[in-house]
């Protein structure tokens, strides 16, 4: 099927960051018209390969070629842009600039006088977003968009260059089900037009849905490349992890009947987000808050942790009512939190893993406001061990971690203060299959030890371990589904379809 030279090829690529080897003699060859999946565990080197394939970084060794020709010089950004478009894992949105300008950055529409015609830029931006049915005002600063809208701006931009080769590095990690299917419809169009794609995702079912070839990386090396159809899921996971796949199992017992409430919402409302939400979480219970990204589930979770203040109703954590809208109050009451957008609210990129992981517990690290560095590093080391964070040590800045490992640091921080209530928004976004099982296992352990857990997510894997799932639709809790649901039942419910009715 493959004719002519590969659209993009990397051979013998090695890339080191200090003592970390991110890629070791790795290779990939992406044939004309393929939709090529690249999978591997967190820190396997996928994003590093992407930055080399898009000319953001030079490999220490090895070479990249496009259509048989050697890659252009790094400084020649225009030449790279003609060959490859990319949605990076790390956000490349510039928050201060408007949505329209972000979409047409460095390729503004110029008027006859040689100056930028903002009116045309805005119009084209509007048209572009309309084709994606993203309903935002293109004149607002991009920083005001929510995570999903921002992700769509990135995707829409990358796909609008007309490039014949497009790389998507975990485009779906921040999207809900409906958004993903919109993206896939578009990808299928592109496939029909003969566009070549490199697709990275930790959702393996997506690989089987849209890709034809898959390459597996493990520990900085190329492990195998094979047609998707010839590699069943179990073998794929085995190739990624280097060990036979063990299916997660073991039914949870659930909370004891007499357990006390640790979280109670009564008639909570926030205008424009959610309305009259009441539920309780008991000690040792895991409760899911399912729904689309815009359903209001995220706002509910953010209210619990004090990022937002409900306009009506009460939020009680382990007893007395919280001061609304106060994060310190929530922290003090014993709330641990994994925010939705790790880049913005999760960590301070330039600070070390140790500092980030212990940001919420300075008082446990020393007396009178001083921080004992040894104790902090010790704490961080145990955290790195417990959550299997892939790093040379606790002193590495979080910006040097792979995306999934950054998410683990955020998780570690949520666990640091032994929370009574753990609130998780999309906790496994960008986390590989094996680490996901592991992380969710940790969540169960925490529940077992008597904490109440609230998981706001639309990932079925996250919701599966919940004792019950509350479905939020257009700002209201519309259903409560006990453990043991079928996938289609929950999905339908999240989309507002009542199967029984």
């Amino acid at each position: 099927m493959v004719v002519g030279p590969p659209v993009a090829e990397a051979t013998g690529v090695t890339k080191r960051f200090g003592s970390t080897v991110a890629l070791r003699e790795a290779a990939i060859s992406i044939g004309q018209g393929q939709t090529h999946a690249l999978v591997g565990r967190n820190g396997a080197g996928k994003s590093t390969l992407v930055s080399i394939l898009t000319g953001l970084q030079a490999p220490d060794e090895g070479a990249v070629s496009f259509g048989g020709e050697p890659a252009p010089r790094l400084a020649d950004r225009d030449a790279w842009r003609q060959r490859v478009a990319c949605v990076y894992q790390k956000s490349t949105i510039i928050p201060e600039l408007t949505v329209a300008e972000n979409l047409f950055l460095n390729r503004h529409e110029h008027g006859r006088n040689g100056l930028i015609s903002w009116r045309t830029v805005r119009r084209k931006a509007r048209e572009l977003l309309d084709t994606w049915s993203v309903d935002v005002d293109v004149r607002v600063p991009a920083g005001e968009l929510d995570v999903e809208q921002r992700q769509f701006v990135e995707i829409a931009r990358a796909l609008s260059f007309g490039a014949r080769f497009i790389i998507l590095d975990e485009p779906t990690a921040q999207l809900d089900g409906a958004a993903i299917s919109r993206l896939f419809t578009r990808i299928k169009d592109l496939q029909q037009q003969g566009v070549t794609l490199l697709f990275i995702s930790h959702h393996l079912q997506e690989i089987y849905e849209i890709c034809d070839t898959v390459t597996v990386f493990r520990d900085a090396r190329h492990i195998l490349t094979s047609p998707v159809g010839e590699l069943p899921r179990a073998e794929l996971v085995a190739a990624m992890t280097g060990e036979a796949a063990a299916e997660a199992g073991g039914a949870r017992r659930g909370p004891p009947a007499e357990a006390a409430n640790v979280l109670e919402l009564t008639g909570a409302s926030l205008r424009g987000a959610y309305d009259d939400v009441s539920f309780r979480v008991r000690a040792g219970e895991i409760v899911g808050l399912a729904g689309a990204a815009s359903s209001g589930r995220i706002e509910i979770a953010e209210t619990v942790v004090g990022l937002r203040a409900a306009t009506d109703g009460t939020v009680e954590v382990a007893g007395p009512q919280l001061r609304p809208g106060s994060v310190p109050a929530a922290l003090k009451a014993g709330v641990g939190f994994v925010p939705q957008d790790r880049h913005q609210q999760g960590y301070v990129a330039q600070m070390s893993i140790a500092d980030n992981g212990t940001l919420t517990i300075p008082d446990q690290l020393g007396r009178a406001g001083f921080i004992d560095g040894r104790r902090r590093d010790e704490f961080a080391r145990s955290m790195i061990g417990k959550l299997a964070i892939k790093t040379p040590g606790p002193e590495l800045p979080v910006s040097g971690l792979s995306g999934g490992n950054q998410q683990k640091v955020v998780m570690a921080r949520a666990l640091a203060n032994d929370p009574k209530v753990l609130v998780l928004i999309n906790p496994t976004a960008g986390i590989d299959v094996r680490s996901k099982e592991f992380l969710l296992g940790k969540v169960e352990e925490i529940a077992e030890s008597g904490a109440g857990v609230l998981i706001a997510s639309d990932e079925l894997d996250d919701l599966r371990l919940c004792d019950r799932v509350l479905v939020v639709f257009q700002g209201r809790v519309v259903a409560e589904i006990p453990r043991g649901w079928h996938d289609h039942q929950l999905v339908a419910s999240m989309e507002g379809v009542d199967l029984d009715g």
Partner: protein, 348 residues
């Protein structure tokens, strides 16, 4: 748990909260964003009224031209600093370049016998020399900051001291007089009834507004200041843009120095000393973020204009000269607070 600083910011920026609300409020927010550019206009009008009440001279044409002329040199520095701040760098050495560039020109062209002049070159060379010094300083700054990746604040702080020292060295701590005619021209000449320096300053700002607002190059400054990696990913040659910005800023500082020494018909060894505080203050008052990527040229202009109008009003009110220094500092702080109130956003 979210880090508390970010967390409170989120709460503060979005008290009503909610994605659904966002859409409804956006229209108002845009109007607001546009208005932020004009945030200082009410303050300027108020000062104009107060000034008129204090002294009927204030709104007279010649007084206003006087205000514009005294601010023109420093306004050009504000323009230069604005470019640098938008790409998220800083250039403290601008104030030394204001002295050194015309200083070197005077040193080489002023005839022997008057002060420390060497008289090596004919007077016609003075302007090109001053501008060349600007280019040179900019290149050195850029080498340190971009090529060697050093911190711009410290590099230019070092340069500030070195350049000031060089000027003291070549002038022997004295003032250069009897400058060649070409050096005096821009600072003294009138074009169409307004000083050339005012024309030049207004023209430069007009160019600045157009370049920053309506050219790809100008927009790339904002992209770099907002997120360098994203700018690179969008195909912007970030290093090249940074070079151009840093060198341009120094050349503008040299030009500002030429205007100043032309107007004063001399180059003091302390010329430009202490300007940088006013420059930064004007930029921040005018809405330029010290964290890069934010602010407009027009805003910066209103910032410096407001400061100089207040100063003028104080002078007209007969505040003793000895107190002007203390008041200046106080005014800047008050103006900062004022622009925070009218601008509505947290300054960073």
């Amino acid at each position: 748990m979210a880090e508390s600083r970010t967390a409170t910011e989120v709460t503060a920026n979005d008290p009503a909260g909610g994605g659904a609300v966002r859409r409804a409020g956006s229209g108002r927010r845009i109007a607001y964003a546009r208005l932020r550019d004009l945030a200082l206009i009410p303050a300027i009008i108020v000062i104009a009224i107060v000034g008129q009440l204090v002294s009927p001279v204030f709104l007279r044409g010649d007084n206003l031209i006087n205000v514009l002329q005294t601010m023109s040199e420093i306004a050009i520095l504000v323009l230069a600093q604005t470019l640098v701040l938008i790409v998220k760098k800083m250039d403290l050495s601008l104030e030394s370049t204001v002295g050194l560039a015309p200083g070197v020109a005077a040193w080489l062209t002023v005839p022997v016998g008057t002060g420390h002049g060497l008289g090596l070159l004919p007077g016609g060379w003075s302007v090109p020399i001053a501008l060349a010094v600007g280019v040179l300083v900019g290149v050195v700054n850029a080498l340190f900051i971009i090529r060697f990746g050093l911190n711009g604040f410290i590099v230019t702080l070092g340069m500030l001291i070195v350049l000031r020292g060089i000027l003291t060295g070549i002038s022997g701590g004295q003032t250069f007089f009897r400058l060649p005619a070409s050096m005096l021209y821009l600072g003294t000449e009138q074009w169409l009834g307004m000083p050339a320096s005012v024309w030049l300053c207004l023209l430069l700002f007009a160019v600045g507004i157009v370049v920053l607002g309506f050219t790809s190059f100008g927009r790339s400054l904002y992209a770099i200041g907002g997120n360098v990696d994203a700018a690179k990913a969008a195909g912007i040659r970030t290093d090249r843009v940074l070079w151009i910005v840093i060198v341009t800023a120094s050349v503008l500082a040299a030009l500002s120095g030429l205007l100043l020494s032309g107007r004063l018909a001399s180059v003091a060894s302390a010329q430009g000393n202490g300007y940088i505080f006013t420059v930064f203050a004007a930029a921040v008052i005018g809405g330029i973020s010290l964290n890069g990527g934010k602010g407009t040229m027009f805003g910066a202009f209103t910032g410096i204009l407001l400061l100089f109008m207040i100063q003028n009003v104080l002078t007209l009110a007969g505040v003793p000269a000895q107190w002007i220094g203390a008041l200046n500092g106080a005014i800047i702080l008050i103006a900062l607070a004022l622009s925070r109130v009218t601008g509505g956003k947290v300054q960073d």
